[in-house]
């Protein structure tokens, strides 16, 4: 045991000390945060007003099309060519050319800019023109805009389940969906990344020919176990760093952004406010409630279990592959049957989502090859009523780990001392049942 501990320590320390580990651990959450935060920040930041010169031959929009601080309009009667020159020589954003359009079916309105127009500006102008024309049509039809807004109805269905104690608990499908996907993908990515690292570690020991030096001091299974556990601990460390950093970044960014958004609402950012109607507010309220009501302790606990178990399950198979070959290129042939079920479990997630309690979903969450990713997907949907299938899935996985590590140790023991020939499946099978 003491020797396994020494091996674990070496595997762990040499990897955690690498610069690439530090960079990956810090950069990944930062990049994720950037991807999420930068667009928000850009959207809420005060950009200088874009000045647009308008040539309105229809004469319909003057006085109706008014700027809102982000886009400002100036109406001119001069021909379009002159407007273009004025605009580009004075640094205006562009020229909006409104020909004498049919108000019922406006066509041929063009925004001319020096550089490509931003989608944001284009959509804003489109939206404003649309509203002006709609108001006009409403007026002709004798409909009051206010009445129409009152007629518009949104429906939001809250979902809840009855738990085994007979109590009703609210659920939130959308939140469950996001948490499920996140859990599944994290498992998938971490298992893949660290499983392959385990395989590389074994191949490295083989190609550097240190392996025989080591196994004259420790048993092959000790070396294999130490390597798998050591690298798994690196993966766990990385995950915990990610979780901690992501949480910190979002907490800090959340504080800053909330403030910005409040400001924006006070200023009356027209678009966002109109889009947000009663149903949306209700939904957001419900999401907040749901997030508060989610049993994160349970989800994180189960996630850690599946992460560790899936890693041991796949990690030992990867270690066995590494031991059987001399180079990573040779390993590809044997990697496929191991990675295929892992990839399959991600592909099948959409089907699981459609009905998390279908028999397909239940079976895939019990079969050890797919259970980690699939169970993480199902978990948020069933977390309130932990049932027999979760326990069964965990039990089956634990038993499977015993089988795969046994098989892996058998292959590993012979594989690490075999050089030169790429083994066939038949030979690997022989190794499993060979005596020492």
């Amino acid at each position: 045991m003491n020797k396994i501990w020494l091996i674990i320590k070496r595997e762990y320390i040499t990897r955690v000390r690498k610069k690439s580990f530090l960079i990956m651990s810090l950069l990944t959450p930062l990049l994720l945060a950037l991807i999420m935060i930068v667009p928000l920040w850009l959207a809420t930041r005060d950009a200088p007003a874009r000045e647009i010169l308008v040539s309105d031959k229809s004469g319909f929009f003057e006085g109706k099309l008014v700027g809102d601080g982000t886009v400002e309009y100036d109406f001119y009667d001069q021909p379009i060519e002159i407007l273009k020159e004025i605009a580009f020589s004075t640094g205006k954003y562009g020229v909006l050319d409104i020909p004498d359009v049919d108000i019922d079916d406006p066509k041929g309105i063009t925004l001319i800019t020096e550089h490509s127009a931003s989608i944001e500006v284009k959509m804003k102008i489109e939206d404003q023109l649309k509203r002006i024309l709609e108001d006009h049509k409403l007026e002709i039809s004798g409909i009051d805009r206010e009445k129409l807004d009152n007629i518009k109805t949104s429906v939001y269905i809250g979902t809840s389940v009855i738990n085994d104690k007979g109590q009703v608990q609210s659920t939130h499908t959308e939140v469950a969906y996001i948490i499920g996907y996140l859990g599944s993908f994290l498992i998938y990515i971490l298992i893949f990344a660290y499983g392959v690292q385990t395989m590389r570690g074994v191949i490295e020991e083989k190609t550097s020919r240190i392996v025989e030096v080591i196994i004259s001091s420790v048993k092959p299974y000790q070396l294999m176990a130490g390597k798998i556990i050591g690298i798994g601990a690196v993966g766990l460390t990385q995950f915990l760093i990610w979780a901690f950093l992501t949480f910190s970044i979002y907490s800090i960014a959340g504080l800053l952004l909330d403030f910005d958004q409040m400001q924006q609402m006070n200023q009356g950012g027209a678009m966002q406010n109109t889009a947000m109607n009663a149903a949306d507010t209700e939904m957001i309220k419900s999401v907040m409630e749901k997030i508060d009501s989610i049993n994160f302790g349970l989800i994180i606990g189960v996630f850690l279990f599946y992460f560790i178990a899936a890693y041991l399950f796949y990690g030992s198979l990867f270690a066995a592959i590494g031991s059987a070959v001399d180079t990573e290129t040779d390993a590809q042939q044997f990697q496929l049957p191991v990675t295929l079920p892992l990839i399959f479990s991600i592909v099948v997630l959409a089907a699981i989502l459609r009905d998390p309690n279908s028999s397909l979903a239940i079976w895939l969450s019990i079969i050890p090859f797919t259970s980690p990713a699939v169970m993480m997907m199902r978990l948020p949907f069933i977390a309130n009523e932990i049932s027999w299938d979760l326990y069964l899935s965990m039990g089956v996985l634990v038993l499977s780990i015993i089988v795969t590590t046994w098989v892996a140790a058998k292959i590993y023991r012979i594989g690490i001392l075999s050089y030169g020939t790429k083994p066939s499946y038949k030979l690997l099978f022989k190794w499993i049942f060979a005596k020492n």
């Binding site: 020494l6 240190i210 030096v213 004259s216």
Partner: protein
């Protein structure tokens, strides 16, 4: 005669291939034992059984008279033929690790490392990564790794491959020093010149079977063909039927060197008497076969 290690009728099969067939050897304590044989004869398999990397199909290994256990293996230092180090790991760290997995406490490892680093004058390598060292330097580190825990039995599988002559000599010196200090050494090789120089006892394995073993000198005696080399003045003529001249060459003027083969029953003195009557003897020596000759004659010329 005390034996540190004995193998009794070891047999090992890999599938249909019999790698070792009823191999029994005894390693005398405090001596250097040469385990000889052509490539693929089964030397490495035998060593791997002694180091408990493989289990024998039948037969037993005894260490100091007791059946071999894991604890005994910790008293063995093993330099495998297929050897290497973690390339990205620092020299000092790596040797500490290799010492620790041999079951040594940390301060003991450090103390031993200090001894070896001073001996080889390589103190400034401590923080270097292995792949910054030359091949010869790496071999020295490798050698230290296999003797760091002061093993009572040291197994060196082709220790000189990859060494330049200077470093090979340094290692040769260290091997003799270790023997002096009381260690027993098993020395597996197919390079006969180093066997001639270092080994006290040898065993020859060919095609999975032990075909010869014993004290090196005795084996030479057993294989001698009563060949003598003499230097003499005057022509050597008129010898009786028991002595044949195999070869004569002139050294200068009247001085010749002749190789003779005698029939077994003639003693050295009788032969000398016979010769003295005929010519003036300047020198007289029996020519024992080299280990290389014996190897070739017994293995049948299968040599790399």
């Amino acid at each position: 005669m005390e034996h540190i290690l004995q193998t009794a009728s070891i047999t090992k099969n890999f599938g249909d291939f019999r790698a070792l067939d009823d191999v029994s050897i005894s390693i005398e304590k405090g001596k250097i034992f040469g385990l000889l044989g052509p490539n693929g004869a089964g030397k490495t398999t035998l060593i791997r059984i002694i180091t408990k990397i493989y289990a024998a199909d039948s037969g037993k290994v005894f260490f100091n008279g007791k059946e071999l256990t894991e604890d005994h293996v910790l008293k063995i230092g093993y330099l495998p033929e297929e050897r290497g180090l973690y390339k990205k790991m620092k020299v000092g760290e790596q040797l500490i690790y290799l010492g620790r997995i041999k079951g040594m406490p940390l301060d003991h490892v450090k103390e031993r490392l200090k001894y070896w680093f001073q001996k080889f004058d390589i103190m400034d390598w401590w923080n270097k990564k292995i792949d910054e060292l030359s091949k010869g330097m790496q071999q020295k580190i490798q050698f230290i790794a296999s003797v760091i825990h002061q093993p009572s039995l040291i197994i060196l599988d082709e220790p000189f491959t990859g060494f330049d002559p200077i470093n090979a000599n340094i290692i040769k010196k260290e091997i003799l020093q270790l023997k002096e200090d009381g260690a027993t050494i098993i020395f597996s090789t197919h390079r006969m010149e180093s066997v001639e120089e270092l080994c006290d006892n040898i065993a020859l394995i060919n095609k999975s079977k032990k075909i010869l073993d014993g004290a090196k000198q005795q084996i030479k005696e057993d294989h001698k063909e009563n060949i003598f080399e003499i230097e003499h003045r005057g022509d050597l003529n008129g010898l009786n039927g028991f002595v044949h001249v195999l070869n004569t060459k002139t050294i200068h003027d009247d001085l010749y060197q002749t190789t003779l083969q005698s029939a077994t029953q003639i003693s050295h003195n009788d032969l000398l008497r016979l010769l003295i009557d005929k010519v003036e003897i300047m020198s007289f020596a029996e020519k024992l076969p080299s280990i290389n000759d014996i190897f070739i004659s017994r293995v049948g010329g299968i040599r790399e």
